[in-house]
């Protein structure tokens, strides 16, 4: 019970952080000072949203699939590569080096997006 509550409050905090500002990418660009911050990207309607996020090095990005169809998260130069994510499954990757990381869904390659790490 305690464990569940703790996890739920963690999610609530994350949601609060993500919904606090007017634009997702602006939010992502100004995460809390905490170095282990996490930014969420939603996979929905065959697209990554937000399609571009800008984050400081050390940020963990969490992709969650909200489609009825599996998707993957694969960087163009294979820096990171998820397994096929079924509905509601998530993949996380922590970006330690600055740079621009283009990525796509290897099952539906029209789905492209990027993470800019500062």
């Amino acid at each position: 019970m305690m464990k569940t509550r703790a996890r739920m409050s963690g999610v609530a905090i994350l949601l609060a952080v993500l919904t606090a500002g007017p634009m997702p990418n602006i939010l992502a660009a100004t995460p809390p000072a905490n170095s282990s911050s996490e930014v969420a990207v939603k996979i929905d309607n065959f697209s990554f949203s937000p399609a571009t996020i800008t984050v400081p090095a050390g940020t963990t990005v969490r992709w969650t699939n909200r489609d009825d169809i599996p998707h993957t998260v694969v960087s163009d130069d294979k820096v990171f590569k998820s397994k096929a994510l079924d509905t509601d499954e998530a993949f996380t990757y922590t970006f330690t080096k600055p740079g621009t990381y283009g990525y796509f869904c290897s099952i539906h390659p029209k789905m492209i997006a990027k993470v800019v790490v500062q």
């Binding site: 739920m8 999610v11 609530a12 949601l15 309607n45 065959f46 697209s47 909200r66 489609d67 009825d68 169809i69 599996p70 993957t72 163009d76 397994k83 096929a84 079924d86 509905t87 283009g102 990525y103 796509f104 290897s106 099952i107 539906h108 390659p109 029209k110 492209i112």
Partner: protein
């Protein structure tokens, strides 16, 4: 905290991208499953509704076969909660054909998540079909996580590369192609140079009067590139087939029937045995289209292809599951 589900979102009128008018248009369009007949290399199509009124001798030929596609075994979402039942219905349709098909082509997405038990279920269900001769090509859902290794182990016997293969039946040459691997960011389906080279060699010894049937999962023509419905190097593959009098290309992937004639080549896409997808551009994305349960089976289907050797005719019958 509200957990958002697809089902809930589909209930919101603005979110599924299908208004009532669009929905009815889909219905009307989907109802036109088609019978296609090639005579002298020219393909004619007839709305499925007319097939029931056709005499069995009109469907008779030296060779008839069935195409099924996109079974997505393991899919359990609201758009189609019973993919076992709908595949069973497809098999029943096959078994009720006036002419027993020589074999079945499955144009991929056998499974939904490439799980062994999903493949097992499809194999088991197909055992009750009137023919045990089944040829497969993989869909992108069949090669998840392992670059198609499991698919090859199960279905790739006698095939080349990632599973492409060819065979001859009653004077018709069939080539099964794989266009769902090594997809590039922003791109479409892909055959790749190795497979193209193989195809060129595979058909070069054939006489130009040999009817050719090419089958692959993703469309080998640009149905709707915005949704990835096409194959980037298909033009190269089709160039090897230009000298033939009759070429038929059968695809799945888009979960709806479509036909197109381009020169000597007739293109067909088959319906899914699992769930329908929207018409190109008529929804925000190509995801599963949720339709009322009593309408679902009208949007799923089986394609029966009938080749008449003496009369040079090839018939493609798209029928729905009710």
């Amino acid at each position: 905290m509200k957990v958002e589900t697809k089902e809930q979102r589909f209930d919101e009128p603005d979110n599924d991208g299908i208004d009532r008018r669009g929905f009815l248009k889909c219905m009307a369009w989907a109802g036109t499953g088609a019978l296609c007949v090639i005579k002298g290399g020219v393909l004619n199509s007839y709305a499925f509704g007319r097939v029931a009124g056709m005499r069995s001798h009109e469907l008779q030929g030296d060779l008839s076969f069935v195409q099924i596609s996109d079974s997505h075994m393991g899919f359990d979402k609201a758009a189609s909660p019973d993919v076992i039942g709908t595949l069973k219905a497809a098999v029943n349709k096959i078994n009720a054909l006036p002419v027993a098909p020589a074999f079945i082509l499955h144009t991929g997405d056998i499974s939904h998540l490439s799980k062994p038990e999903e493949f097992d279920t499809v194999d088991q269900l197909l055992k009750s079909a009137s023919t045990q001769d089944v040829f497969f090509v993989p869909g992108e859902h069949d090669v998840l996580n392992d670059e198609g290794k499991q698919y090859l182990e199960r279905y790739g016997k006698g095939s080349q590369g990632s599973g492409w293969h060819s065979f001859d039946k009653n004077g018709v040459h069939f080539a099964g192609l794989v266009n769902v691997l090594n997809l590039k960011a922003g791109g479409l389906g892909s055959l790749g140079p190795g497979q193209l080279e193989w195809l060129e060699k595979d058909v070069q010894h054939l006489s130009k009067s040999t009817p050719i049937v090419v089958f692959a999962h993703m469309p080998l023509w640009s149905v709707y590139p915005e949704w990835g419905w096409g194959t980037e190097d298909s033009a190269q593959a089709l160039s090897y087939l230009k000298r033939f009098g009759s070429v038929t290309v059968l695809n799945g992937h888009i979960h709806q029937t479509m036909q197109k004639v381009e020169g000597n080549i007739t293109f067909h896409t088959a319906a899914s045995t699992a769930f329908p997808q929207p018409k190109p551009g008529e929804a925000p994305s190509p995801g599963p289209m949720k339709v009322p349960a009593d309408k679902l089976r009208t949007l799923l289907g089986v394609t029966d292809v009938n080749y008449v050797r003496g009369k040079h005719s090839l018939a493609v019958v798209d029928s729905n599951l009710v």
